[in-house]
């Protein structure tokens, strides 16, 4: 597998869409199995460290071999999307399990996301997911940046390089997107009751 993955990554990097989605699918599977092991019966918000999981998945899938920064970065790109979906799925599952009573929210606690947007720590991950989707419709790059930083654990510099933008631009995008999301989510929070944004 790991040999194939390196090839897939090379092709994805060259712009091959089907290779990119294959990487995504593979990353998704791997991440989910790792996450399942980590999460067995435990509470998500204390044990799920997105960065750690993504890195673990990378090592398992590609091995420790030298694959070059671009490959690594490309993998994280896919893995951070996968991570986002896993967290969202997980939140939905918990929402279903607890429906009808009590707190159904999954929070973006510091433990879960190394770069939980300041002020967003106690917000609903589903609401964040939806807000991110809205952001992507307005500005794909900003949404991607948030995804990379929140779910892929990339530093500002790495994310900037991967997105092909300057560090300065990344830094402004980041503070802009965070402010935008915070506003977006605080509006939502006011409008919806607890758990209101969780679809069944």
């Amino acid at each position: 597998m790991d040999h194939d993955l390196t090839q897939l990554l090379e092709r994805a990097r060259a712009g091959d869409v089907s290779a990119a989605s294959a990487v995504f699918a593979e990353a998704f599977e791997q991440l989910r199995s790792i996450a399942r092991r980590h999460l067995a019966g435990e509470r998500l918000d204390h044990t799920l460290q997105a960065t750690a999981l993504v890195n673990e998945a990378f090592v398992r899938m590609v091995g420790q071999r030298e694959t070059g920064w671009e490959n690594h970065a490309h993998f994280i790109h896919s893995a951070s999307q996968a991570m986002r979906r896993i967290l969202v799925d997980h939140a939905r599952a918990r929402g279903r399990a607890k429906r009808g009573g009590g707190q159904a929210r999954v929070r973006l606690d510091d433990g879960a996301l190394p770069e939980a947007p300041a002020g967003l720590e106690h917000l609903d991950i589903l609401a964040l997911d939806e807000a991110l989707t809205r952001l992507a419709a307005l500005d794909e790059r900003q949404a991607r940046l948030v995804e990379l930083r929140c779910f892929g654990g990339m530093s500002e510099e790495e994310a900037a390089e991967l997105l092909g933008i300057s560090r300065r631009t990344a830094s402004i995008d980041w503070s802009f997107a965070k402010a935008w999301l915070r506003r977006e989510l605080s509006d939502d929070g006011a409008a919806d009751g607890p758990g209101g944004s969780i679809p069944s």
């Binding site: 002020g119 419709a137 307005l138 500005d139 402004i172 503070s175 802009f176 965070k178 402010a179 935008w180």
Partner: protein
């Protein structure tokens, strides 16, 4: 919300987030006039971003000392009254901050007091804390060095710089004499100063500015807010050189935060500041002109109805200032805070203690002339110094004749024509050709076609009508062609004609396309269209054009033209004319690829162009073929050198020289001779890379010989003398690189002699304090001194080397002060510093050597902050690094200087 709006939100967020709060609101309101909710959203987002950031810092339990914005400006967001009650108790350096005086784009100004520990209560001072930071230890040293220069300024009308330093966080601060006063414009209006009093006050400002210019410092940010008037009526200038000192890469007049957004309204910025050209003291003359204009008329020199920053910039660069005597009667104007609105001429006049008609007649004549002269778009046509301007005002006040003359009608007309040459010629010819030719022709054509349609009955009539239609159409095409060809070639050489060329080509293309729609198989029309496309492509690729060229669009035009021409050639393969046109198209495309840095595509096209042109040449077609062929070969060689294919480069250069020789033999001209000498220099470089020193030396000798002839045949031409010195210095450099210091020395000395004479000639008769010599000549002279010093080497006369380098250093510093963002000047300064450091180090003066090399290092950093460093800068950095290494070795080893 649309993506479009989101994008705008993001851009405004970036531009506004670091502005002081009160400016931010105002600025956003002005920018978002079309969508007020946008301004609210931007403000909310900025608030969210800063509030969130602060919450996080506190949550993380971090002491918020890292960011002075957090500690010093902690009053931010609290009500104004409270903010004043709780005066910040902070200290900076030896100063206790007492009160915030103001908040500007670049920093915050505090009223402060020198600490009593240092002996007795200090007096009150103004302390300006900059938002920018200075980086490492070396930046800091440079900062202090330059600050010493400024603190030496002493003049009764200049607020003295008392102290400067950097906070622990790296923010520079300046301590200035505290001036109690109001800005000069407010002072004048509030005290209802008469025109005479305003002029008197302004002359004092001129004295102060002139004093600073004599110290080789340009203010660059003269505006009412920087000129306070005390209760005693004394003007005091603030902030001389400070903004530049704190942030050398930024021009304060035009503080750019993101493309398209400029923080400050550049009302007082000069055209050269807007265009980001090298600045001289003439830039301050211009800003003073705007200031005096406003003090006297109450209006900005350009009557524009919007305060949109681009409109302001366009006005500064393109509009002629209105005569002050006319402007004073405007009923609409820009208030000091930059808003436009109705303005009452009687109010303006009353503030000057007179009736409007009185003010108008007071301005008419002398003052009109003085102001218009100081506001000329061309720095050279302005007053050559601030003193000269002040002198003219004195003459005016004592009823002597002023030097500034009203522009004569002839001058004005010629200036208009000069400025709008392309448009004027195009306009005149267009009108003439339409009236006399095309209109008539197309009318006939249409009539003939109608005749053709209605006269089908008569075959004979139809044949006649068709012939008529054909003849008429041919005339339309010919006229369109003439417009594109002849007129274009006439205006192509004129600076600033590019937009006109483009318009003209657009008109031609439009007309030709509609003609083609009527007769799609007409090959002469198609070829005409290709010619027009070719012209528009050339205009779009022109880097002198206002939009700095649009090579991609140019490429499309050329490719379309090429396609048409190839098709036509396929139908008529023996047609020499079309062959030549295909070659031209290919060559243009190659040029654009080269401009875009797409080397392999450029090479391929050059190769095709060369093949086609050679083919034409072989078939005996020489007219207009040789020059493009030589140019294509030279470009091809250049690309080959960059690609490391030196053999190919030599082959191309050699062939180019053959062609140039024939050209020169057939039509001898200085131009042809110069072309040949350029070719020799190209060849020399290629041979040197190849390792063929003998051939490189030969080629250099020939280049030098040709340029000696050229310089001797036209002694007036500065260009020819500069060319000669360049060839000499190239040759000297070559010998230095290849171990021939002995051969290099006489060449470098000759270059020195040529340049010293050239500089003396250029400077002759120039006004004092103004360096009339071309910066390129000065830079070459510096290079000559460097070459001589290198050629003298460790064994040569060290005294001469030092003397020359010290003079070169002086010149280089002046050059850099006059044109701080000119990279070639900065490179020259760096080289001199490094070379002088080497000489001093050899003489055992390690400390001095280390200092010089440290400054050289600073310079490189500065160069790199001004532009993307290229190979030359990499080499320079390496040279300085090696120099510092040697100094360190020599001083630590205590080795005796080698002899």
């Amino acid at each position: 919300m649309s993506a479009e709006r989101h994008k705008r939100l993001r851009a405004l967020f970036e531009a506004a987030r670091n502005m002081p709060e009160q400016d931010r609101r105002r600025w956003l309101d002005a920018i978002c006039a079309d969508d007020p909710t946008l301004a609210d959203d931007v403000l909310a987002l900025i608030e969210e971003a800063t509030a969130g950031g602060r919450a996080r810092t506190q949550a993380a339990g971090m002491a918020s000392a890292a960011d002075p914005d957090e500690t010093l400006f902690s009053g931010r967001g609290t009500p104004r009254a409270r903010q004043q009650e709780e005066q910040p108790r902070e200290r900076i350096g030896r100063y206790v901050l007492k009160q915030k005086l103001g908040d500007g784009g670049m920093g915050v100004v505090y009223l402060a007091q020198r600490d009593s520990e240092a002996g007795g209560k200090g007096g009150l001072v103004a302390l300006k804390l900059m938002r920018s930071t200075v980086g490492g230890e070396e930046d800091r040293k440079r900062f202090l060095r330059e600050h010493r220069l400024l603190s030496a300024l002493e003049h009764p009308n200049i607020a003295r710089l008392l102290d400067a330093g950097t906070t622990d966080e790296g923010h520079p601060y300046f301590v200035m004499e505290y001036v109690r006063g109001v800005s000069i414009d407010r002072y004048c209006d509030e005290n209802r100063l008469t025109m005479e009093e305003r002029l008197g006050l302004f002359r004092k400002v001129c004295d102060a500015v002139h004093y600073v210019h004599q110290n080789l410092i340009i203010h660059r940010d003269l505006k009412p807010g920087n000129i306070l008037v005390t209760a005693e009526g004394e003007p005091k200038l603030l902030d001389f050189g400070i903004s530049k000192l704190a942030n050398p890469a930024l021009d304060p007049g035009i503080e750019v935060t993101s493309p398209g957004f400029r923080l400050l309204t550049p009302r007082y910025a000069s055209p050269e500041q807007i265009r980001n050209l090298p600045l001289t003291t003439a830039t301050d003359v211009y800003s003073l002109g705007v200031l005096l204009y406003e003090l006297l008329t109450g209006h900005w020199p350009y009557a524009i109805k919007t305060t949109e920053i681009r409109a302001i910039e366009r006005a500064i660069c393109d509009l002629e200032p209105e005569k002050p005597s006319t402007a004073v009667a405007r009923t609409e104007g820009m208030s000091p805070d930059g808003k436009t609105g109705p303005m009452d001429p009687t109010v303006v006049a009353r503030a000057r203690g007179a009736m409007p008609s009185k003010i108008r007649s007071r301005l008419r004549g002398d003052l009109d002339n003085v102001l218009l002269k100081s506001l000329d778009k061309s720095p050279r046509r302005r007053y050559q110094s601030v003193a000269e301007m002040a002198e003219d005002l004195r003459r005016h006040l004592s009823n002597e004749t002023v030097r500034a003359r009203p522009p004569s009608v002839r001058y004005r007309v010629s200036k208009f024509v000069r400025r709008n040459r392309g448009a004027v010629i195009a306009g005149v010819l267009l009108v003439l050709s339409l009236a006399g030719g095309a209109a008539a022709a197309s009318y006939q054509w249409r009539r003939a076609e109608t005749a053709l349609a209605t006269a089908r009955a008569s075959e004979e009539a139809a044949r006649l009508a068709a012939a008529n239609a054909e003849a008429a159409r041919a005339r339309v095409a010919a006229i369109a062609g003439a417009m594109v060809g002849d007129i274009q070639s006439k205006i192509v050489k004129l600076a600033g004609s590019t937009p006109a060329r483009q318009d003209l080509a657009n008109i031609a293309i439009e007309n030709l396309e509609s003609l083609l729609a009527a007769s799609p198989h007409d090959s002469s029309l198609k070829l005409e269209l290709a010619r027009a496309l070719n012209e528009r492509g050339q205009a779009q690729a022109d880097r002198r054009s206002a939009s700095a060229g649009n090579p991609e669009a140019a490429l499309q035009d050329h490719q379309r033209a090429l396609q048409i021409r190839r098709d036509e050639l396929a139908r008529d393969p023996a047609n020499r004319e079309i062959q030549a046109e295909v070659a031209t198209s290919v060559l243009r495309i190659a040029d654009i690829y080269r401009m875009l840095g797409r080397a392999s595509e450029a090479s391929a096209h050059y190769r095709e162009a060369i093949d086609r042109l050679e083919e034409l040449l072989r078939s005996g077609n020489t007219r207009g073929v040789r020059a493009p062929l030589a140019a294509a070969l030279a470009a091809r060689g250049e690309l080959a050198i960059n690609a490391g294919q030196v053999d190919e480069a030599v082959a191309a250069f050699v062939r180019a020289q053959e062609i140039r020789r024939v050209e020169l033999a057939e039509a001898p001209s200085p131009r042809a001779r110069r072309n040949l000498s350029v070719g020799h220099l190209d060849l020399a470089r290629a041979y040197e890379l190849m390792g063929d020193r003998a051939s490189a030396g030969d080629a250099l000798d020939q280049a030098v010989a040709l340029r000696r002839e050229l310089a001797a045949s036209d002694e007036q031409s500065a260009e020819a003398r500069r060319d000669l010195s360049r060839a000499l210095l190239e040759a000297a450099g070559f010998h230095l690189r290849t171990g021939g210091a002995a051969q290099a020395l006489p060449l470098a000395r000759e270059a020195d002699a040529v340049l010293t004479k050239l500089l003396a000639d250029e400077r002759e008769g120039a006004a004092q304090g103004q360096d009339a010599a071309d910066p390129r000549s000065r830079e070459a002279w510096i290079t000559a001194q460097l070459s001589i010093a290198s050629a003298l080497g460790p064994a040569g006369d060290q005294e001469e080397a030092r003397r020359r380098l010290e003079r070169a250093l002086e010149e280089a510093r002046r050059l850099v002060t006059g044109a701080p963002s000119w990279i070639a000047g900065r490179r020259a300064l760096t080289r001199v510093l490094a070379e002088l450091g080497e000489v001093e180090s050899r003489a055992g003066r390690h400390e001095l050597a280390a200092e010089l090399l440290a400054e050289a290092n600073d310079e490189i950093t500065r160069i790199e902050s001004l532009a993307e460093p290229d190979a030359i800068d990499v080499k320079l950095r390496e040279m300085v690094r090696a120099g510092r290494e040697r100094v360190r070795e020599r001083s630590s080893g205590g080795a005796a200087p080698p002899n």
